[in-house]
Amino acid sequence: MINRTLTLALMDPPYESANSTTALRIISAALEKGIDVNVFAYEGAVCLPLKDQAPHANPVKGTTVEQEEHPTTKSFVSSLLAIGNLTWVNCGLCVDERGATNVVDGVKRGSPADFFKMASESTNTLVIPTK
């Protein structure tokens, strides 16, 4: 069986754009198909796996944290990493700029050189830019 690898470059920060949701869906679908996935998180996307994210209640609707079931991107990233065959690299400079160092387990720190290497060794690369 041919080993297939998909690399994605993400740039949007969490809770800003539907791009993040679509990217996470693409990663999930690829992993389910047995496709290896590399993610290079650039700019605001380095905050997707931030461990400090917390689900919240909704005082407008009067719902509790449990009732609200607010999804966090850190949980999505953790779940995807738990599947295996996913390499997630956060851009180190982008992390430092944002102080986004406290990330979920399994997320690595790297540089655009890692993105180049991942893209060079992949079946295909998809760049999802900010609007």
Binding site: L6, A18, T22, R25, I26, A29, A30, K33, T123, L126
Partner: protein, 107 residues
């Protein structure tokens, strides 16, 4: 032959540059390549028959897919889609992306 996958995430009524993607996809198709346009997020608003968009792409033989979740989020049913546009899961996009000799562009 190269395969091209264009992913359109923008609403044509908000972004005039969706026209650029349409023109590019048709030009590539006319050069003999296999072309797929995958509509996602607000891009699926163009898939409605009542929007009267994307007819040129269909006539040019471009494969048109619309993301099922994006359609559901916007209350668009399969029978509202223009002829030539097929509702599709995100797994179809993934499968298209990992075909050999495929170029992918997100817009």
């Amino acid at each position: 032959m190269t395969r091209y996958v264009f992913i359109e995430s923008r609403d044509p009524f908000e972004s005039r540059d969706t026209q650029f993607l349409e023109d590019t996809a048709i030009a590539v198709k006319e050069r003999g390549h296999d072309v797929t346009v995958f509509l996602v997020q607000n891009g699926v608003l163009a898939a409605r028959e009542s929007a009267r968009r994307l007819g040129r792409l269909a006539e040019a033989g471009v494969k048109l897919l619309a993301d099922d979740l994006s359609l559901r989020e916007r209350g668009i049913k399969a029978d509202e889609l223009s002829p030539g546009i097929r509702e599709s899961g995100i797994d179809a996009l993934v499968e298209a992306l990992v075909q050999e000799n495929t170029k992918a562009m997100w817009h």
